[in-house]
């Protein structure tokens, strides 16, 4: 089971981070931040490598004593980082790949949502009526834009212009 999922924009600020609520969230933010260096390294290595080795899935970025961090980059240079518990040895490579594929599909859906402005933080509503893809875990909800509130007082909720979390 993934312990933390992060979607990072191509300018390297976070679009979406969700981790298990019981743990110290800041620790995961830090872990994701440090993994970005490894991601950039892999991307530049990929640029110089041969044709056959170009792939979106980056594989294991680095293992720590408790966790393993996996990476994935899309064609639009948006990065997905997933932190997984080391003790969960049952998780195989192709399961991680399929989790990333589902994440990519959900991110694409968010992009195609006309109410979503690219570059905004992704709001995920736990009780929202729109599609939630579960990555093998109760709380790992995939990003969807908040539904439009139709009513006399509210209109389409607009996200702030810049990122809320800046590193």
């Amino acid at each position: 089971m993934a312990v933390c999922i992060a979607v990072i924009a191509k300018e390297n600020y976070p679009l979406y981070i969700r981790s298990t609520p019981t743990e110290n969230e800041l620790k995961f933010h830090y872990m994701v931040h440090t993994s970005l260096d490894v991601v950039d390294e892999k991307i530049s290595a990929m640029g110089k490598a041969l044709v056959d080795q170009r792939e979106l899935y980056l594989g294991l970025l680095y293992p720590t004593e408790d966790y393993k961090v996996y990476g994935y980059v899309t064609n639009s240079k948006v990065k997905f980082v997933m932190v997984v518990d080391s003790s969960n040895t049952a998780l195989r490579d192709n399961e991680i790949r399929s989790m990333f594929r589902k994440l990519h599909n959900s991110y694409t859906d968010v992009m195609c949502n006309p109410f979503y402005n690219p570059g905004d933080r992704i709001q995920s509503s736990p009780g929202g009526p729109y599609s939630r893809v579960r990555i093998q875990s109760r709380w790992a909800l995939l990003p969807v834009s908040d539904p439009v509130q139709v009513g006399p007082t509210s209109c389409v909720r607009s996200s702030p212009a810049g990122p809320l979390i800046t590193w």
Partner: protein, 131 residues
């Protein structure tokens, strides 16, 4: 007036292009260079939107690309020849935005303009400034 509505159309096309630039190349591997991205626009994007490929792609290898469509589907039902030439920009603004949006998602800042010499042939010029 006319200019305002054209830029509104272009920005709509831009947003759609951004979404398509995310969705369409999903299974294909990462693009190696600029020319690959342009080829993707001419083949996959055009087929997805207009059910046909772009007819020709020319470049001067200095960041200027000319994409030519000899039977542009939005202009095809209008006329053939010089009639309605001044109405053509309205139909092209959205498409210019589409190209610009897709390029933007794939990491390329560009300026896209369109020109029509005679319906339904139209040329899209993509200028990618050298950084």
């Amino acid at each position: 007036g006319q200019k305002m509505s054209l830029s509104v159309l272009e920005s709509m096309g831009f947003r759609v292009g951004q979404a398509l630039g995310e969705r369409l190349p999903r299974e294909t591997l990462a693009f190696r260079e600029e020319l690959d991205v342009l080829k993707f626009l001419c083949k996959d994007l055009w087929v997805a939107v207009f059910q046909k490929q772009m007819d020709s792609l020319r470049t001067n290898h200095q960041g200027t690309y000319v994409l030519q469509d000899n039977s542009f589907p939005l202009l095809l039902p209008m006329a053939s020849g010089l009639q309605y030439l001044e109405e053509a920009p309205k139909f092209l603004a959205f498409t210019c935005g589409l190209l610009r949006g897709a390029l933007c998602t794939l990491g390329i800042e560009s300026v896209v303009t369109a020109s029509v010499a005679a319906l339904p042939v139209c040329k899209f010029q993509v200028l990618i400034p050298k950084s």
